[in-house]
Amino acid sequence: MDANEYNASVQEWADALFRFACKSTGQASDAHDLVQNGFEVLWKKRKDVTYDKAKAFLFQVVYRQAVDNYRKRAKVSYTEMPEQSYSPVNPDLKKILDRALAQLDEQGRALVLLKDYEGYSYSEIATITILSETQVKVYLHRARKFLKEYLVSVENVI
């Protein structure tokens, strides 16, 4: 990858990466650092990473930092992202889902985000997270089931 392609990667994926980092860590400042670090690593490894693999590489770097590093910390406080925009159709659902997402563990959250935000397949998520496809499927389904049960329970309360 040359400088042109690197810059194209920045322009194309910086926002998506930041969104993923924000939702994964729950902290905008941490997310900013993660994205910056991700692109620094990409620039250093640009000779080994081709342009078509750059996006997966960036998510891999950010995922590792977001999940692995944050997991090592004794306490991580996930604060909901400032409510910048919510779907006008069903704002409550969005809010509830964000809350449910905050209840998930880092890995489950990251897997849901990679699936729903970026549309990665199980095998692609397995590559990014360095898990087996079966593990991805199991962890993702576990997270999805939790979200569903959270939604149902809230609906029951309401």
């Binding site: 926002d15 969104r19 925009s85």
Partner: protein, 282 residues
């Protein structure tokens, strides 16, 4: 096979978009048979997140890297000029070499009008007014369209002019006499006129006026034959040397090109960069 025990997995795979068409159909069939489970599918579909596009990374420009300056391999300008000069020199030299070989025939004929012009201009205005009518008469002859008449008249003009000179000059022998230098303006004019008409100092011989023969017999002078046209060019020795150097360099370049061509024929490419040789074999 979808059962009540594993249907949830299929529903989640359906929400994730990971089901094969056949599996999708199987799930649909299963839900048709168990409509009470359709709400499960709807609940899972609600868990699907959509990206919040309003969240954007601020400071994207800080991540961008400055692009390297594009470098292109090109010959330096002086080298381009030297190649152009070499080609020009080859053409220039080959032209004169060729002309030198052919001087017995064509060149001498071409020199005649120049000589006439030069000699006419050299003539001092106060010189032998009595000879003017002879030149004028000869000139009138040149106006006649017949080629034979043209050369005859040229000879007449030369004859008249030389006779005229003899009267004014103290040197008895024209062969040994140093020729008067061409006026600079005239020389430039002639040079610009046509490349074939380049003047050179050709000593007049008595043959010119001794007999009224066609002009091509000028070449009969044996002392002229030994000299090449190159030697007779009205150019400084230093400039001649410089031209020779350019010609030599052009010849070297030509040889190098031939060597490359030969290499290509032998499926070997030799590239010489400064002092290093790169040999590519195919």
């Amino acid at each position: 096979m979808i059962t009540r025990e594993n249907y949830e997995e299929y529903i989640m795979m359906y929400v994730d978009g990971e089901l094969q068409p056949a599996q999708e159909k199987a799930l649909n069939d299963f839900l048709v048979l168990h409509p009470e489970l359709k709400c499960e599918l709807q609940s899972y579909e609600l868990t699907k997140l959509s990206p919040d596009t309003s969240i954007t990374f601020v400071g994207e420009s800080s991540l961008l890297q400055s692009l390297p300056v594009k470098r292109s391999m090109s010959f330096p300008h002086w080298r381009q000029y030297s190649i152009a000069a070499s080609i020009a020199a080859i053409i220039f030299i080959s032209l004169f070499k060729f002309s030198g070989e052919q001087r017995d025939n064509a060149l001498v004929k071409n020199e005649q009008p120049i000589m006439q012009e030069r000699e006419t201009k050299e003539k001092p205005p106060n010189a032998a007014a009595t000879r003017q009518p002879a030149i004028a008469a000869a000139k009138n002859d040149t106006e006649k369209s017949s080629p034979r008449n043209y050369y005859r008249s040229k000879t007449l003009v030369a004859k008249a002019t030389i006779n005229n000179k003899r009267e004014n000059s103290t040197t008895p022998d024209l062969n040994t006499a140093p020729l008067p230098a061409l006026p600079e303006a005239t020389a430039n004019k002639i040079m610009l006129a046509e490349i074939k008409e380049l003047p050179y100092h050709k000593p007049e011989t008595p043959n010119i006026h001794a007999t009224d023969i066609p002009a091509y017999t000028f070449a009969a002078n044996s002392s002229e034959r030994g000299k090449s046209f190159w030697d007779k060019l009205p150019i400084d020795e230093l400039k001649k040397k410089q031209l020779e150097n350019i010609g030599e360099r052009a010849a070297n370049t030509y040889q190098e090109i031939n060597a490359v061509k030969k290499d290509l024929d032998e499926k070997t490419l030799t590239i010489k960069i400064e002092k290093r040789k790169l040999i590519l074999s195919f």
